[in-house]
């Protein structure tokens, strides 16, 4: 048999593969013939070789050569065939032609023998050949061809013979032989066919069986290896008794396989589940179910059972597949933990539009209970506007593509919406969508806020009136807003990417790169943070003044500079115009100031017993303060200090009018308050209209009378330094400022200035003077200063004050005008003369009292007492009531008074006057004693060249 597949042997004749079998059979027969060609050819070759030799001897000489040649030739041919047929592969096509040729050669030999010998008897040879044909050729068509060829050829040859004898006899014999040969052929063929068929059948059967056996073996082997390799336990049991178990199953339960076989399956089920398992078993349940298995060590393990009924050899068995779920369960738990813990919303949804399984994050983020979400199609939770897009995404998922970074809005329980970012993938086989959603509401809000901020920023840049240009650290323009474009005449596109120095004329143009690199190296701000005026150059070449402010922005990795530019061409022009105007104004102010100073009192008053010093310092050019000295008569001086509430030109103008008015109204006939009232009446209208008022203090000093009267219209800035007491006395205002009420009444006060006392009348610019630390000079400092220089003359006091103010203010420009008038009382004297009559007594004592009162009441009384005695004495004893006069010189001293009485009457010897008897009252004689006791110094000088001279000095105690 040739290698190769045996054909599938048909079980019945109707099988379409019958043809195949026939072919195979035919082939087999052909092969038989082919295989017999060689031996036959060999045999015949030897035979004819012998014939060839035999013919030579046995045949008549006229034919023997021919016959021998033929026989020899035949033998040689056949011999060659024998040799060469080995080299030829089996060929069905060649088989019968070769057979034919062999037989033809045989026939030919026989026929030729017959012909040449003319012996019809030779037909017997041919009969042998005919038998050979029948026996040799198994193909019926070829048999017939060969047979008929042979018969026909006999027929032809025979007819060529001369009266052949017994032709019919031999003809029939040949015919019979042919028939027999035919039968021979058929029978042989049939039987060979049958044999072959049977053989093939057997072959195929065997083949099938072998195949089946092989399959079975393979299957067996596979099963074995499967059952060994599988993680799942497999148990086969019959009515509960284990027949077979694989290693895996044994391992699951912790036994050796041998320990399980033969036992009842229920022994391996946990007690609690045995009833259930039994039910399933009896029911023949074939669905997978979970149960608790029982290990050898008593441990209970979760297992999944899938069982199936099989019938084997008419026995009913169950095949059970056991899966150990321990790890799965653990993995599930682990997975569930992830599922439940995840911050993001994990879910499984179906293509039917419902969520199947959602993580707790859903409730956390959306606020619904799980049931609420699962009960509705998920699209219902999606924001109206996002539904179409969401549906589209689901459709895409259905085609198998994954969903990545899809955003939509989900409605929360309270009705608001949250932005959710989704990743999803479809699990087509199960028709499920696995999705994870992240709440990006905050990010969205932040993003929106950021976008809004950017838009706002952009709007600011675009609408800003000032040009805003940003450059990088190389000076390259990064941004250029519309205002900047308008200023420079360039379009934004023209300048972005260019160096900013194209906007600058020289020298900035060349220097700018240096500025930027200098800053980058040293970080020293030269213009950054400070504004500067520079120049810019427009597109058309025009150079113009520019106000520039630069700031820097440090970003990670790079520095940007922002410049805010303003075209100040107009401003500059305006500034120039302003400067011109200012200059002109300044000239006028200077002129006005000149006028104002020119009307200040040129000289200080001269009043016996008083020193004066005065100064006025305007804060700017024109002063709102003023002072004036008006001599009313030679003994009376009026001091005015005024402060217009206000500054500058209006106040200055007011000072002029007020001053003039005061001068006009100041006569001896008017009292000090009266003057103020007049001023107020006259000025009220103007002041009201201008909404100004004036504080004014008027001091009138009469040194003869010793009067110091003042009235102050709201001007509290006056101090009186009392030398004896070493302290300041107040000089309070005695009425409201001028211009407040048009019918204001003023009071006056009398002050006694003892020698050594200093009155300082000033404007509030003194105490309001400020220093660089914004401290005020203040009243305390002022008083301390005056105290320190109280012994100095008025000029020096004034200079000291001015110096001190200067030192204090340290050059700070003052806001308020400063006016200071210093009046210092000096020791002064006054001389009087009266007739020496009793009528004069009161007058004289009154005068003395008046002066003495400036010291103190008690002092004054005692002095009056003493003087009364003196004068009485002079009148009664010196003049003895005769006419004469008494001359008195009063000297005011800083600490007391000296009185010098002069008379021309009789003198007396003071030493001769007895002391009074203190024990018995007398009607007189006490006078001298009183004088002596009161006066600190008493001298009586009779008959001096000025007359009898009483000298009395009394000092004031304590002070």
């Amino acid at each position: 048999m040739e290698a190769g597949n045996s054909p599938r042997f048909p079980m019945d004749i109707d099988d379409p593969s019958t043809n195949e079998v026939d072919q195979a059979v035919r082939r087999a027969l052909n092969l038989t013939v082919w295989n017999s060609i060689r031996p036959v050819a060999f045999a015949l070759a030897i035979l004819y070789g012998l014939f060839a030799i035999g013919h030579i001897f046995l045949l008549p000489p006229d034919i023997n050569t021919l016959m021998a040649s033929l026989a020899g030739g035949t033998a040689i041919l056949l011999f060659l065939l024998v040799v060469f047929i080995r080299r030829i592969p089996f060929s069905e096509r060649l088989t019968y032609p070769l057979a034919f040729v062999i037989l033809a050669l045989a026939s030919l030999n026989s026929l030729l023998h017959l012909f040449l010998t003319g012996d019809i008897l030779q037909t017997t040879n041919l009969i042998l050949v005919v038998f050979g044909i029948g026996y040799f050729i198994l193909s019926t068509p070829w048999f017939l061809i060969t047979l008929l060829t042979t018969l026909f050829s006999w027929g032809i040859f025979v007819t060529q013979l001369d009266h052949p004898a017994h032709v019919m006899h031999f003809g029939i014999a040949l015919f019979s032989a042919a028939l027999v040969s035919f039968i021979f052929h058929l029978v042989r063929k049939r039987s060979l066919q049958e044999n072959e068929r049977l053989r093939l059948y057997t072959e195929s059967q065997r083949g099938e069986v072998e195949q089946a056996l092989q399959l079975s073996e393979q299957s067996q082997a596979r099963f074995k290896s499967l059952s060994e390799a599988t993680f799942e336990g497999i148990v086969i049991h019959e009515k509960g008794t284990v027949l077979d178990v694989n290693d895996a199953c044994a391992h699951i339960f912790g036994y050796l396989p041998a320990e399980i076989v033969g036992r009842n399956v229920l022994e391996f089920v946990s007690q609690d589940d045995r009833e259930r398992a039994t039910n399933y078993l009896l029911q023949g349940f074939e669905e997978p179910y979970e149960i608790k298995g029982l290990r050898k060590d008593g441990l209970s393990i979760p297992i999944q059972i899938t069982a199936r009924k099989i019938v084997h050899q008419s026995k009913e068995m169950r095949v059970v597949v056991i899966r150990d779920l321990t790890e799965i369960k653990a993995a599930e738990e682990s997975r569930d933990r992830f599922f439940n813990l995840s911050i993001d919303m994990l879910c499984i949804a179906g293509f039917d539009g419902y969520f199947k399984h959602i993580s707790p994050a859903f409730e956390r983020i959306l606020g619904y209970v799980d049931q609420e979400i699962l009960a509705h199609p998920f699209i219902e939770f999606v924001h109206q506007d996002d539904r179409e897009a969401t549906q589209e995404q689901i459709r895409l998922l259905a085609t198998g593509s994954d969903l990545f970074a899809f955003e939509n809005r989900f409605q929360t329980k309270d009705g608001s919406y949250k932005w959710i970012l989704w990743n999803a993938t479809a699990f087509m086989e199960a028709g499920l969508i696995y999705a994870i959603g992240r709440d990006i509401t905050k990010q969205k809000d932040d993003l929106l806020a950021l976008q809004e901020r950017e838009e706002r920023l952009h709007a600011i840049l675009n609408t800003a009136v000032d040009g805003i240009i940003t450059i990088d650290e190389r000076g390259i323009i990064q941004s250029f807003n519309p205002a900047a474009a308008a200023i420079f005449g360039y379009q934004e596109d023209d300048v972005i990417g260019e160096n900013v120095h194209i906007l600058m004329p020289e020298p900035y143009h060349s220097a700018h790169d240096g500025y930027v690199s200098g800053y980058m190296a040293t970080r020293e701000p030269k213009i950054i943070g400070k504004g500067r005026e520079v120049q810019g150059i427009r597109k058309n070449g025009e150079i113009f003044p520019l106000a520039l402010a630069v700031s820097n922005v440090e970003l990670p990795g790079r520095t940007l500079f922002t410049g805010i530019v303003r075209d100040i061409t107009e401003r500059k022009r305006a500034e120039e115009a302003l400067d011109v105007a200012r200059e002109r104004l300044q000239k006028e102010i200077d002129l006005a100031a000149h006028i104002q100073t020119s009307i200040l009192p040129r000289e200080l008053p001269e009043l016996q017993g008083f020193e004066f010093a005065a100064r006025t310092l305007p804060a700017r050019y024109l002063s709102g303060d003023f002072y004036d000295f008006i001599a009313l008569d030679q003994d009376t001086c009026q001091i005015v200090v005024g402060d217009i509430a206000g500054k500058g030109v209006p106040a200055a103008l007011m000072t002029l009018s007020t001053k003039t008015l005061i001068k006009n109204e100041s006569t001896l006939l008017r009292s000090v308050p009266g003057i103020l009232e007049e001023i107020n009446k006259h000025q009220y209208q103007d002041l009201s209209r201008a909404e100004l008022f004036v504080t004014l203090i008027l001091v009138r000093i009469n040194n003869q009378v010793g009067e110091f009267w003042y009235a102050s219209a709201g001007h509290g800035e006056a101090l009186l330094w009392r030398n004896l007491e070493n302290e300041f006395a107040e000089i309070p205002a005695t009425g409201l400022p001028i211009g407040i009420f048009d019918d204001e009444r003023y009071q006056s006060e009398k002050l006694a200035m003892r020698p050594g006392d200093i009155a300082i009348i000033y404007s509030d610019g003194v105490t309001d003077a400020v220093n660089p630390d914004q401290e005020h000079f203040g009243i305390d400092r002022f008083e301390a200063l005056i105290r320190d220089c109280s012994t100095l003359p008025a000029d020096d006091v004034l200079d000291n004050i001015l110096e001190s103010l200067d030192d204090f203010s340290l050059g700070v420009e003052q806001e308020d005008d400063i006016t200071i008038v210093v009046v210092k009382a000096l020791p002064r004297e006054a001389s009087f003369e009266w007739p020496a009559t009793l009528e004069s007594l009161d007058r004289i004592t009154a005068k003395i009292r008046e002066q003495a009162d400036i010291y103190s009441n008690d002092f004054a009384y005692e002095l009056e007492l003493a003087c009364s005695e003196v004068v009485t004495n002079i009148i009664e004893h010196a003049y003895k009531q005769k006419p004469g006069n008494i001359r008195l010189k009063i000297n005011l001293l800083p600490d007391g008074m000296q009185l010098d009485f002069f008379d021309d009457g009789e003198a007396f010897d003071i030493s001769q006057i007895p002391e009074p008897d203190y024990d018995s009252p007398q009607e007189g004689g006490y006078g001298l004693s009183i004088i002596q006791q009161v006066a600190d110094e008493l001298v009586y000088e009779p008959h001096t060249d000025r007359g009898n001279h009483w000298l009395l000095v009394k000092y004031i105690r304590g002070g």
Binding site: L838, E839, L841, D842, T845, N857, D858, Y861, E862, E864, L865, S868, E869, T872, I875, E876, P916, Y918, D919, S920, P921, Q922, E923, G924, Y926, G927, S929, I930, Q933, V934
Partner: protein
């Protein structure tokens, strides 16, 4: 200048004389005369109320002493009321403050006058 007097006779023999003005050489005589007259009217207890007197010198003093002497002759008294520290000064300087009687108010002086 003149003095002004106000007289009051609370009881028989007692007079309260209030004086106003300055008591010096000019006016002392007036007081002296007044006191003399009172004594002549048999008023020997005199209360001099001097709160309205602004000045007293030795002349004024002598008028008072004269009055004192007069009433003393008749076993009377002269009491002084209403002197201020200043007007009392002259009495201090002449030590007459030890001899003359000074009272805080008129009632007190009157009461004491009776005791006398």
């Amino acid at each position: 200048m003149e003095l002004s007097f106000t007289e009051d006779r609370p009881k028989k023999g007692i007079a309260v004389l209030s004086v106003e003005g300055r008591l010096n050489a000019v006016t002392a005589g007036e007081l002296k005369d007044k006191l003399k007259r009172l004594v002549s009217e048999s008023v020997y207890h005199i209360v001099l109320e001097l709160a309205g007197v602004t000045f007293i010198d030795s002349s004024g003093l002598s008028a008072i002493v004269s009055g004192l002497k007069s009433v003393r002759e008749h076993a009377g008294s002269l009491k002084l009321v209403g002197l201020s520290p200043t007007t009392k000064r002259v009495f201090e300087l002449t030590r007459l403050d030890r001899i003359l009687e000074f009272y805080q108010d008129v009632e007190e002086a009157i009461a004491n006058a009776v005791v006398d």
